[in-house]
């Protein structure tokens, strides 16, 4: 009997805890007691109010980075460079900003500064596209072997990238590596036999390599009356 009365008391206590919540639920009010927390469930009155803040904060550096990009689109390079530098002052670890700064410096004709900016980025963090940009800067600096190495590396992973293969073929031809340059031009022409400009480049390398008959044949194929 005593045990039963104790048990009833216990059950009553539990119901007393539950009841305000049940009543509140029925009346459409949020539950008044923190049963949710004791059960690991959310408090309805507190949690949903978090999103009522007036618009999330956009950091200065984020807005500045976007501004720098737009300035570069309209070729206002000095202003874009200044904005990128301010972003990097605040966020020196922002590799994407550094990369974009390097590209803009290159577009602005400031290749040496671009190279310096690129060199501040760990090689592993450079995307395939960024590596090609870096290779292009090496070309502008006449550091052809470094550029060739980056282009080759890219083509190992992206053999279908004719744009980079064309760049590699050109640089190889400037380094008088004619056989390899010809090989790459021919691969491109297999993919796009109608490309007159590539065929003319091939012809020019054939001439430099002393293969005049082949050059004539290729050049004829690029002329409308042939």
């Amino acid at each position: 009997m005593k045990a039963l009365s104790h048990s009833l008391l216990l059950t009553g206590m539990v119901l007393a805890i539950c009841c305000p919540n049940l009543r509140a639920q029925q009346s459409g009010e949020p539950p008044a007691f923190g049963l949710e927390q004791s059960l690991g469930l959310p408090s309805p009155s507190a949690a949903p109010k978090r999103s009522a803040q007036p618009g999330e904060k956009i950091a200065d550096w984020q807005a500045r980075l976007e501004l720098a990009r737009v300035l570069s689109y309209v070729q206002r390079y000095p202003e874009a460079i200044s904005q990128y530098r301010q972003v990097l002052k605040e966020k020196p670890e922002h590799q994407q900003a550094r990369l974009e700064l390097a590209k803009v410096l290159f577009w602005a004709g400031r290749s040496e500064e671009a190279l310096q900016a690129f060199q501040g980025i760990p090689r592993d963090e450079l995307s395939p596209e960024a590596r090609i940009d870096l290779a292009d800067i090496y070309v502008s600096q006449k550091e052809y072997e470094r550029a060739i190495s980056l282009y080759r590396e890219h083509l190992q992973n992206h053999p279908e990238d004719d744009r980079v293969r064309f760049k590699l073929a050109e640089v190889l031809s400037w380094r008088q590596k004619y056989e390899e340059a010809l090989k790459h031009y021919r691969i491109i022409l297999e993919h796009r036999p109608e490309d007159i400009q590539v065929r003319r480049k091939l012809s020019r390398v054939l001439i430099w390599n002393g293969e005049y008959d082949r050059a004539i044949e290729q050049l004829r194929r690029t002329l409308p009356d042939s």
Partner: protein
């Protein structure tokens, strides 16, 4: 039970009842607060990055009766993040219409319209918003982004500079 003395029998009964009550509580909570259970699931899904699941659960919480502006807003945010743009537009439009003086919903609706490439409508909302609050930075940046997407770079630059107080 009968072979036990009265004290141990009493304790055993207490323990059994305690287990019974403890076992019933979650069931009781689930049956009495389905909206909170759904809300909790939505919050967890959102935190995990499962935005579609989160949107479904927020929607369920609303259907079950948790109809607050904040939950609707979260439904809009989850729908937007889960790329259910039509629902996001619908939710933010409803919030904007029910609270036309609240700039937050106008901004959210404009941003969502921008994401769905309804640039003209989005710009109209942002222009109106900026007439009332000319230097409100989130609105300036939102308009700059939309202008960038439309290729109106010089106007976008002006907005960004105003937002950064460099204009």
């Amino acid at each position: 039970m009968l072979i036990l003395r009265s004290k141990p029998r009493q304790y055993l009964t207490h323990i059994l009842l305690l287990f019974l009550v403890a076992g019933c509580l979650p069931w009781l909570y689930h049956s009495r607060h389905p909206e909170m259970v759904a809300f909790r699931q939505a919050e967890q899904a959102f935190a995990r990055g499962d935005f579609k699941d989160a949107a479904e659960a927020y929607s369920r919480a609303i259907t079950e009766g948790l109809r607050s502006v904040e939950v609707y807003s979260k439904l809009g945010d989850a729908s937007l993040a889960g790329q259910d743009f039509s629902r996001a537009v619908e939710v933010f439009r409803a919030l904007h219409q029910s609270h036309p003086d609240n700039p937050v919903w106008t901004l959210k609706l404009a941003r969502t319209l921008g994401v769905t490439k309804h640039y003209v409508q989005a710009l109209k909302l942002l222009d109106r918003l900026l007439e009332q609050r000319p230097e409100w930075r989130p609105a300036l940046i939102a308009r700059a982004r939309i202008r960038t997407a439309r290729g109106e770079f010089h106007k976008a630059i002006n907005d960004y500079k105003r937002a950064l107080k460099e204009g």
